[in-house]
């Protein structure tokens, strides 16, 4: 009996354990993979493809708004474009890109062999293409795709929505399922796969911010699933959650949606904080200023994000006491966020700074995210929000934090870690052109929107009155330029992977700190087969170590 068990054991061990060999050849490598880097790369390419699709929709929007009057598309199609643009960018581009970076980087940063639950990791990714396809397929259905804005408020999304909305609902279910599994995996990896010499307060900030983001995801995504489920039954099975005629309330939808939605916006910015907190110490050649305050600030932002949701709904007629509470709670968030911005600035203060490409993006992030944060403060004030609500000021605000915030940090992270991933350096001259091109055009694109909003131009409308013409023209020109910059980014990345100059040294950026830089370049297929020692971890710490 005992011998048989051992035989089976040995047999299965050889059949299944995957420490010894490299990747499987061919396409099946990507379908079956349980390797955290493979899955991370898949996430990144998926996110980039969705970014281009969502970006193309933004081009349609800007083309339509180039001049007053209806130019190219029907208003209904315009609404589909704004809706799908938002949904694809949020759920298809930004979130998967961050999960991809987490997958590639977190095991290498905590000294782990892989993610904690590798097969589930594969499933989290492979749900996405199906969900994305289902979401995009709604555009080709009878009655068109969802056209009610990415926030899909009832009753626009229940009583007055096209049939395709049910496909949209299930796409959201699948995306949520994938996000929850991804988040569980990250929590299990950080809690259980961390090298035993690494205490929680030794973790790099990117790991910390993602760890906290994962809790936000687990708490917020199921609420979104609940909201779309109620939408589904309201649409098809005669329930009246969001119908006042049956005792429900359309505003209840907004409450449930934003209970998810506000944590969601921090889900899209906390990992960005983490990336920037990795890059700035590297090129300022100083340990990160105020590491523990960064960790606590991230945690406070996360907790506060669950108690401020109704600041998106100041105009729904809530009681004054409610408005006051949500206003003060919202403004409170600026304290931990301010702590972060000051910490980045103080990290650079008196540092021996050099301006490599990732650092330029990180600095652009700090400045432009602050612009977006300040307009967020303006929006958080009730009497002011009554003016700004649903205008282009809101559009300017969230594009500053999501594009020049979240997206810039992703680009910064890609430039920072790409040489590590593929063992080749990108073309720095082109990358510099790309940076200035993007950073100028993004401001030409979004800054005039502040003025448009203050002057009263409403969002999600394909036409506008004549006094808005000049600023819209400028914004559209900036938009086209910014859109083109992503083709350059695609070229730079592909060129780097195929013909980039080889990089041999493990520490690609000579002043970079962190366990990932102790691995050979390009990073081997299997990360850390032997656990890194406590001495190494302390030596490589970006916040205590000597630079």
């Amino acid at each position: 009996m005992a011998t048989t068990t051992t035989d089976i054991e040995a047999d299965i061990h050889h059949a299944h354990d995957d420490h010894d060999h490299g990747p499987e050849p061919g396409l099946m490598r990507w379908v079956k993979t349980t390797n955290h880097k493979d899955i991370g790369y898949l996430y990144m390419w998926f996110a980039f493809a969705m970014l281009l699709i969502g970006g193309a929709m933004a081009m349609v929007i800007r083309a339509e708004l180039f001049t007053p009057g209806l130019q190219f598309v029907e208003p209904q199609f315009f609404n589909q474009m704004t809706t799908m643009h938002g949904l694809i960018m949020v759920f298809g581009a930004i979130m998967p890109a961050f999960v991809g970076l987490a997958n590639i980087q977190i095991p290498t940063m905590v000294g782990a062999p892989d993610m904690a639950l590798p097969r589930m990791n594969n499933w989290s990714f492979w749900i996405l293409p199906f969900a994305g396809a289902m979401l995009l397929s709604t555009m080709f259905m009878e009655g068109g795709g969802p056209a009610f804005g990415w926030t899909f408020y009832a009753p626009l999304s229940t009583t007055f929505a096209p049939d395709s909305t049910d496909f949209f609902i299930f796409a959201i279910h699948m995306l949520g399922f994938s996000s929850i599994m991804g988040a569980i995996n990250i929590i299990a990896t950080v809690m259980n796969m961390r090298a035993s010499g690494m205490k929680l307060m030794d973790m790099p900030l990117f790991v910390w911010t993602w760890f906290i983001t994962a809790f936000l995801l687990i708490a917020a995504m199921p609420v979104l699933a609940g909201a779309v489920t109620m939408m589904l039954t309201d649409r098809n099975f005669g329930t009246s959650f969001f119908d006042a005629a049956g005792g429900g309330d359309p505003v209840m939808f907004q409450h449930i949606f934003w209970f998810f939605g506000h944590p969601e916006v921090y889900i899209m910015i906390l990992p960005a904080f983490g990336i920037v907190s990795q890059i700035i110490p590297t090129f300022a050649r100083k340990p990160l200023f105020g590491y523990s305050s960064m960790v606590y600030a991230t945690a406070s932002i996360a907790i506060l994000s669950f108690v401020v949701w109704a600041h998106h709904m100041f105009l729904t007629g809530m009681p004054v006491a409610g408005q006051m509470y949500f206003m003060y709670a919202t403004i409170l968030i600026s304290v931990p966020t301010g702590v972060k911005v000051f910490n980045w600035v103080t990290t650079m203060w008196k540092g021996s700074m050099t301006f490599e490409i990732p650092m330029m993006w990180a600095i652009a992030f700090v400045i432009l995210f602050t612009v977006g944060g300040l307009s967020g403060l303006m929006l958080g004030i009730v009497p002011a929000d009554i003016q700004y609500h649903d205008t282009y000021f809101v559009v300017a605000h969230f594009h500053y934090v999501l594009v020049s915030g979240a997206l810039f940090s992703i680009i910064a992270g890609v430039y920072y870690w790409l040489p590590k991933w593929c063992g080749r350096m990108f073309n720095e001259k082109l990358a510099k052109i790309h940076f200035w091109w993007a950073v100028i055009s993004v401001n030409v694109l979004f800054f005039p929107m502040h003025f448009l909003g203050l002057a009263g131009m409403p969002r999600r409308i394909p036409d506008y009155s004549l006094q808005f013409a000049d600023f819209n023209l400028i914004a559209s020109l900036g938009g086209f330029a910014f859109g083109l910059s992503f083709l350059l980014l695609a070229y730079i990345v592909v060129d780097c992977i195929r013909n980039g100059k080889r990089v041999e040294e493990p520490r690609v950026w000579e002043s970079a700190k962190g366990l990932e830089w102790t691995l050979p370049t390009p990073a081997p297929y299997h990360t850390f087969n032997d656990e890194p020692s406590r001495e190494l971890i302390l030596k490589e710490s970006s916040h205590t170590g000597v630079h």
Partner: protein, 291 residues
Amino acid sequence: MQSNEQYYVPSGSYWPMVGSVGMAALLGGFASSLHDNHLGTGIMVLGLGIILFMVFGWMGQVVQESEAGHYNLQVDKSFRIGMGWFIFSEVMFFAAFFGALFYAREFSVPWLNGEGNNFWTGELLWPEFKAAWPLVEMPDPQLYPSPDGLIHAWGIPAINTMLLLASGATLTWAHWALLNNKRDQLIYGMIATIVLGVIFIGFQVAEYGEAYGHLNLKMTSGVYGSTFFMLTGFHGFHVVLGTIMLVVILMRVIRGHFDADNHFGFEAVAWYWHFVDVVWLGLFIYVYWLV
């Protein structure tokens, strides 16, 4: 310095891809069937089949690896963390529906009657409407007809509460038995839990029959019916899943799987059951008793 070679990183697997195809077929088919596309129903059933195939195949592989002793304590802990946070996500899923229940009861229904700063809402929308909970007379009775009666807490729901609480107790009894290596007690405890679960499901079906057949209490009976069926429906669905998983675990126990130190599968399912049990208690208090 311990070697990470100890951690079991599985080789590539087709199961996630099978699961994704199944999920897309199930949900896509369901969505099409909602719009009178008869092909949709077929695709949905096919998708369900694929998902069942995936679950049994994938879990079968995991069981095999577990029994072959590949999973050390660290892998066990990863599974525990995964299960723990999965249950938390389920709690948040139910929280959305409980939130809807409280919102309707405390805010939207009184507001429709003109409470607070909603005087004109009450005057202009449906002046005849009187707020009450449970909501029996809807603001627009044409659209949402009234039920003839409600499910009384002091009836099937109370019996069901006792059944589920008892099943939690028998499951814990079985759990103690597993830890103390009393295999017979373990099996009896599991069987008792499953039987109680099945009786619960039976009563729940009877209650739905009563509600739809005699009381005219339906999903369409305004926001009370909506929250009632949404909460009890999703709970019932979880009980069904939990019972199926308990049966699988019972069969593994009979085959001699699990011992005092290595029984994650048992614990995961037991945990699921405890979670479902507490959700029911919340339902009993806040849906049936309306405290």
